[in-house]
């Protein structure tokens, strides 16, 4: 059995009498790339901040590596990297100096840090601009530097909050590739919050869907798809036609008494389908 790395139990956060996060139960196992999905304002960032001990839960608890995030935030933050949404750096410091500040805050000795920073800048493809002030960086470069900042402290868990917002498709590809490499080569567990479904589907091994502060589904995409559409499946009849499915065939089936709907179906449930199913009401 794999070890549970992040576990939330009845986690609740109340802001101004509204429950932003409402008794969430969440489990992330070692080595997973966990996609944390939900529309804006669903409570993703609040949950993440509670996991890092940057915000106190109103009730319930969240543990990372067995440490309570509220009571022992330093132990949690030591082994966890966080890439905030719209990550920022000190603009008049160079990429290298920005990372150096992070390694120092983590108590990594300078000699070891220098090597590490060089290596990390190489990985994120910023070696050539290591000595350039971050103020001159593009949004995509800053985001890659953000990934560098995640890697440089050698975490065991990386929490990435909307790591691909506002960058071009090529940049998105690079970031996603980095995340996968990070997970495979360094065995870093990843919590990826996003509302961009295509990306999540591409790289995540498991997902959790949050809506209005509640987890509405959790598991692998296949599992959720199955359970979600189970009820409907009992009343469902699949028909395969010999040649091409034409509208005349569909029409004639529809004429049979008791048939509610005739639909052309794609072979697998995409994450899009699942997502839209949950948020149809909104």
């Amino acid at each position: 059995m794999k070890t549970v790395i992040l576990e939330a139990k009845n986690l609740t956060k109340v802001y101004n009498h509204t429950k932003v996060v409402d008794s969430i139960n969440l489990q992330i196992e070692e080595g997973e790339i966990f996609g944390f999905l939900g529309p804006n304002g669903a409570g993703k960032t609040t949950t993440i901040l509670m996991a890092l001990g940057l915000t106190e839960p109103s009730s319930g608890e969240i543990n990372v590596f067995g440490y309570n995030s509220t009571k022992e935030p330093l132990k949690v933050k030591k082994v966890t990297s966080y890439l905030p949404e719209n990550v920022g750096f000190y603009e008049d410091l160079t990429a290298q100096e920005n990372l150096k500040y992070i390694t120092r805050l983590n108590g990594i000795p300078d000699k070891k840090a220098d090597k590490k920073i060089e290596e990390v800048l190489e990985i994120v493809g910023l070696s050539e601009v290591a000595k350039t002030e971050v103020g001159k960086f593009s949004k995509g470069m800053k985001q890659r530097l953000g990934m560098g900042a995640v890697l440089v402290k050698e975490p065991r868990l990386a929490i990435l909050d909307e790591p691909t917002t506002g960058i071009d498709p090529k940049g998105v590809e690079e970031i996603l590739e980095l995340i996968v490499r990070m997970s495979r080569e360094r065995n870093i567990t990843v919590l990826l919050s996003s509302h961009l479904l295509y990306q999540v589907q591409k790289i995540c091994t498991k997902i959790g869907i949050i809506s209005q502060g509640r987890i509405v589904a959790q598991g692998s995409i296949k599992e959720i798809g199955k359970s979600l559409l189970k009820d409907e499946k009992e009343n469902l009849l699949e028909i395969k036609v010999a040649n091409k499915l034409t509208s005349t065939i569909m029409e004639s089936i529809k004429k049979i008494e008791g048939v509610m709907e005739v639909e052309k179906k794609s072979p697998d449930h995409s994450l899009e389908e699942i997502y839209i199913k949950y948020f149809r009401e909104e």
Binding site: T45, T46, L49, L52, L54, T55, P73, L74, K75, K77, K78, T80, S81, Y82, P84, N86, V87, G88, F89, Y90, E91, D92, Y101, I102, R104, L105, N106, G107, A149, K153
Partner: protein, 313 residues
């Protein structure tokens, strides 16, 4: 290195390397040098104003026609220096998105604010020490006067008072940078506070005093004293007034009281200079008041910062 040290050194490097520090430093330096030079050129003309026992201190206190004295510079521009260092301390980190990155590192939240305060005080101290040393050096070089021990200790106390005074304004700036999300708002509010304490307090105090204890031609001495007391009570909430009195007593050893009591007491006292310990006794309440104001600013900033939510939205 512990987190506090790391934050401190980083912030200090930021301050000392910043353009705003350079500009302020050059402005103050030029004014200090010009005061010393003009004074040393015309020292003969001012011989009547110069106290013979404390020649050295005169360079800080004497104003020459259009050119104001050095202590005026500090009491007037000190607040601006403090505000410039403080007003964007926290809200700029917030708006640039660096705060969540820093606080997600294994440090406590107060490390950030403590580091900023300490680095700010260090910057102010470095600035003041270097300027005071430059003035002393010029005096030594140009005039060949050697300060005595009494003068040196007075200058050291003056330095401490100035750091606390400018530090108060920096703390006020940091407080507003925590309360307001926009750097422009915090800058404006800080400057408004400075204008209020530097100018309006004086007007308001006399208006209130005249309301409570109105004076006319038949007023008795008691009435005048009461009016003056109310005025000085209100005036003393202003750090500018507190600092001005402190510097007067420190750099002008014959000063022994302020306001109406100075007029009454002074008339039948010989203007002999006081030793430093006695001067300190005179300004002790002002000193404590200034320290208290600064500590209050820090404490309020600290509490608000610790309770604030991290997320920018």
């Amino acid at each position: 290195m512990s987190g506090l040290k790391v934050v401190f050194w980083k912030e200090l490097a930021d301050y000392l390397g910043s353009r705003k520090f350079l500009i302020l430093f050059i402005i103050i330096l030029i004014s200090a040098i010009s005061i010393v030079f003009i004074l040393s050129q015309n020292i003969g003309e001012y011989s009547s104003e110069i106290s013979k026992d404390y020649v050295f201190l005169n360079f800080f206190t004497i104003s020459l026609g259009a050119l104001p004295s050095f202590i005026f510079f500090v009491s007037f521009f000190g607040p601006l220096i403090g505000i410039i260092f403080g007003f964007d301390a926290i809200n700029s980190e917030r708006s640039k998105g660096t705060m969540s990155t820093v606080l997600s590192q294994p440090i406590y939240r107060d490390t950030l604010i403590n580091g900023k305060f300490l680095a700010g005080f260090a910057t102010i101290s470095i600035m003041l020490i270097s300027i005071i040393l430059i003035i002393l050096g010029l005096e030594l070089g140009v005039l060949g006067i050697v300060p005595n021990l009494e003068e040196i200790s007075r200058i050291i106390v003056f330095f401490i008072a100035s750091v606390i005074y400018i530090g108060f304004w920096m703390s006020l700036g940091i407080l507003f940078s925590i309360i307001f999300r926009q750097t422009t708002t915090s800058a404006l509010v800080s400057v408004m506070m400075w204008i209020f304490f530097a100018f309006f307090v004086l007007m308001i105090s006399s208006v209130i005093a005249d309301q409570v204890a109105p004076l006319n031609q038949n007023s008795t001495l008691e009435m005048v004293a009461k009016n003056e007391n109310i005025k000085s009570m209100i005036m003393h909430i202003s750090p500018v007034v507190l600092f001005q009195e402190i510097t007067i007593a420190l750099l002008n050893p014959s000063a022994r009281a302020f306001g109406i009591s100075a007029l009454i007491k002074g008339s039948n006292l010989l203007p002999t200079p006081l030793p430093l310990t006695q001067s300190l006794m005179v300004i002790w309440p002002q000193f404590v008041g200034l320290i208290a104001l600064m500590l209050i600013c820090f404490a309020v900033s600290y509490v608000i910062f610790m309770r604030q939510e991290i997320r920018a939205t």
